[in-house]
């Protein structure tokens, strides 16, 4: 559009403002997608208030807290990587992007140990222990696995997206003049972070 000059070499239409708008709309749909589950969570927590408290005692607050810190830090690194790109520091940006991916990976490793421990305690859908519990506890763990599972999928997708961004940075497709792709990836990663910020208190801190 008028605010952006078209590149001479390619005739591809470029509209950074439009791309950002598209990305925000997409994030909006993601929020509503998770919103559906938060809605279900709130209904069942209202109906089975006490059971949710009992079940939440099984959560490992230490790992949860560690993961919160890890994700928050990773949000910072991806934000700084965009700032570095804007200032033309390609290597710094690349390093920060890779650190973000590593943080994402550590988050998933923690999640793996956490899930394994829970499954070891018999807290998984359809387990002999859980079936004998109250409905509220079954629902708590059902929601726990579904919501953190879907969030985990988003972490994986976010990592893949950032790996692509690293490739684009190396190939100079993302440059200090044209970094809207990296910005969009950053926005997506922040979304992943924000959802976790709500998951953490709802599952770990309600005891």
């Amino acid at each position: 559009m008028s605010t952006h000059e078209q590149t001479v070499t390619s005739h591809v239409h470029r509209d950074d403002e439009g791309s950002r708008m598209g990305m925000w709309l997409f994030l909006f749909t993601e929020l509503i997608l998770f919103g559906g589950m938060f809605f279900i969570y709130s209904v069942y927590r209202y109906l089975h208030h006490d059971d949710f408290h009992v079940a939440a005692k099984n959560m490992n607050v230490l790992i949860g807290t560690a993961n919160t810190i890890i994700l928050l830090t990773s949000s910072m690194t991806i934000a700084v990587s965009i700032a570095a790109m804007q200032r033309g520091k390609k290597m710094l940006s690349l390093t920060l992007q890779s650190i973000t991916v590593i943080f994402g990976f550590i988050f998933l490793v923690n999640k793996y140990f956490e899930w394994t421990a829970e499954i070891g305690h018999g807290n998984y859908p359809g387990s002999p222990e859980l079936v004998n519990q109250n409905a509220g506890q079954i629902l708590f763990f059902g929601l726990y696995y579904v919501m953190t599972g879907l969030h985990g999928l988003h972490v994986i997708v976010g990592m893949i997206v950032i790996i692509f961004m690293m490739r684009f940075t190396m190939k100079d497709i993302i440059t200090p003049d044209s970094y809207v792709k990296l910005e969009a990836a950053g926005l997506y990663w922040h979304l992943v972070d924000i959802i976790w910020i709500f998951l953490f208190p709802l599952f770990y801190l309600i005891t």
């Binding site: 239409h13 509209d15 709309l25 509503i32 559906g36 809605f39 579904v146």
Partner: protein
């Protein structure tokens, strides 16, 4: 004029149909990011699915021609009405007008070269096709076709042994395709309007697509997550909806209708946009109350998202909730009525030409009025309890969905297809086909209201003899309507292959931008920056044009 001369315009640009890109043959289409080609791709797929859905509907009617078994067993019958619903709603009318005519004409109407995200647009089409193929797999794979009805109500949808997971995945993917189309259109309307195309110089079809885009973006994720949870429920039995594990099946119904009620507007609002284009064109008169029509689309989007629980009055709710949802249901009728009054006011003192698109548009107003008013009746709590799950509902949904989205698509086909392919259909045949279709439609669906009121339950394989006469009339009506539809498609199809080639830019004398580009349009739609006029100022524009001459 010879074919070659018609293919190239005065600036030496060939039409989008003849443009040769990187790829050849079929790949020139299925890898094209041109919004016009994608529109045609959608059209071919959609109409093919429509025929499939129509055949299923015809078979349902045939089974119900008399009490007892006629052609299929009950299980097959259940699969028939489920697939008829899934195909017609999720694969035909929901993508419907936006995917075909929105894709083709929205950028042209705004004075743009393409949509905001052309590659995403093609990706949406692939998602759509994937969803369609999964539905075919759900029919063919061992396990059997889904038999829950298109509403997938819990607990049956987690108990049945038919191919539910694959069907739910299909609808999930179709929803994703719908979201991306909506996102694309919203961004296109915000960012790609021609410099002088202000918000209130946009054609009303663009306004309708804008409202629809927001509904798609806001509510479709809800059905996505809900169906995903049903899949998870089936695979891992987590208990979120399963009453045996403490879940609440009514919660599923809420989540389902939070999407599926607004989905009615995803179908209807674009069709209303089409009618708002056709009526002024064939009445040769400025649209009455432009801003009212534009804002009523937005009002429908807002109110329509808040009325979902009126599908569940009999499912168990507090009295307060029932009153609130009943009131909101009445309110949503207001913006719809605003549109109907504005259309009829536009006709007043117009020079009306009864060409095929206008016939479909007028039928739309008639059918939508019946469908809409029978909907208002159901908003009355006491009446709703009486007619819940009867044929009255089935009649209402067919008048609303087929009467608006279906007739909207037929109207669009007759209005825009000549522009899209540069060939004209036979107008006399189109008119005859319309009347057969319209009469068949009313014979098919009107008896539903009567037998529903008398208590005939919907989705039933068998029925009491007292309902026989209504079912018989309805089934005969279905034959008439199918004959009309086939006649209409035959007429259009013949025009695609053998029709008279036209190069006239403005076939119907419309004032929106698509009538000022070549027929068929060139690859980049416009050779120069288009001149933006008031889209409906017929007399004024004509006088100004006269002065210029």
């Amino acid at each position: 004029m010879s074919a070659d001369a018609a293919a190239i315009n005065q600036n030496g640009h060939e039409s989008y149909l003849e443009y040769k890109g990187k790829y050849k043959g079929i790949f020139a289409w299925i890898l094209s990011t041109d919004h016009k080609r994608i529109g045609i791709l959608y059209m071919v797929a959609l109409l093919t699915w429509f025929i499939a859905g129509m055949v299923l509907g015809g078979l349902i009617r045939l089974e119900l021609i008399s009490p007892g078994r006629d052609i299929v067993d009950p299980q097959t019958y259940n699969a028939f009405f489920t697939l008829h619903g899934v195909i017609m709603l999720f694969i035909f009318v929901i993508p419907g007008i936006p995917a075909v005519f929105g894709n083709f004409f929205l950028p042209i109407m705004l004075g743009a070269k393409d949509v905001a995200f052309p590659r995403l647009n093609l990706f949406s089409w692939y998602l759509y096709m994937t969803g369609g193929i999964l539905v075919i797999l759900a029919i063919l794979l061992p396990g059997g076709a889904p038999d829950t009805g298109w509403t997938f109500y819990i607990p049956y949808s987690i108990r049945t042994n038919t191919n539910m997971i694959i069907t739910l995945t299909a609808v999930f993917i179709l929803g994703f395709s719908s979201i991306l189309t909506g996102l694309n259109f919203i961004t296109t309307i915000h960012r790609l309007r021609a410099p002088k195309m202000g918000w209130f110089k946009m054609p009303l079809f663009a306004w309708a697509l804008y409202a629809t885009g927001w509904i798609q973006v806001i509510v479709t994720p809800i059905i996505g997550i809900t169906l995903l949870l049903v899949i998870v429920e089936r695979v891992f039995s987590v208990g979120l909806f399963d009453p045996a594990l403490g879940g609440d099946p009514i919660l599923f119904q809420h989540l389902f209708w939070i999407y599926s009620h607004p989905a009615v507007y995803i179908m209807a609002v674009p069709a209303m946009g089409v009618i708002s284009e056709i009526i002024p064109t064939f009445a040769r008169r400025t649209i009455f109350g432009y801003k009212f029509i534009a804002f009523s689309s937005i009002a429908i989007a807002v109110f329509g998202s808040l009325v979902w629980a009126h599908h569940m009055f009999a499912a168990g709710m507090t009295d307060t909730a029932e009153f609130v949802f009943s009131l909101l249901t009445f309110l949503v009728a207001i913006p719809s009525a605003v549109k109907v009054f504005n259309w009829t006011a536009t006709l007043y003192k117009g020079s009306i030409e009864l060409d095929p698109p206008m016939l479909y548009a007028l039928a739309f107003i008639f059918l939508f009025s019946i469908g809409g008013l029978t909907g208002v009746i159901q908003g009355v709590l006491s009446v709703d309890i009486h007619i819940t799950d009867t044929y009255f509902i089935v009649g209402h949904i067919h008048y609303v969905v087929f009467g608006t989205a279906g007739f909207g698509i037929f109207a669009s086909l007759h209005y825009w297809l000549p522009k899209m392919i540069g060939k004209m259909y036979n107008i006399a045949h189109a008119k005859v086909a319309f009347w057969i279709l319209f009469i068949g439609f009313n014979f098919l669906y009107f008896p539903f209201f009567i037998m529903g009121w008398l208590g005939m339950p919907r989705r039933s394989y068998d029925y009491l003899p007292e309902y026989h006469v209504y079912h018989l009339i309805s089934t005969i009506g279905s034959w008439v309507m199918i004959a009309g539809i086939l006649y209409m498609f035959y007429n259009l199809l013949i025009s695609v292959f053998k029709g008279k080639r036209i190069t006239d830019k403005n076939i119907w004398g419309g004032e929106t931008l698509e009538w000022f580009v070549d027929t068929p349009p060139t690859l980049e739609n416009f050779d120069e920056e288009p001149e933006i006029n008031d889209p409906y100022a017929y007399k004024q524009n004509e006088i100004e044009a006269e002065e210029v001459r």
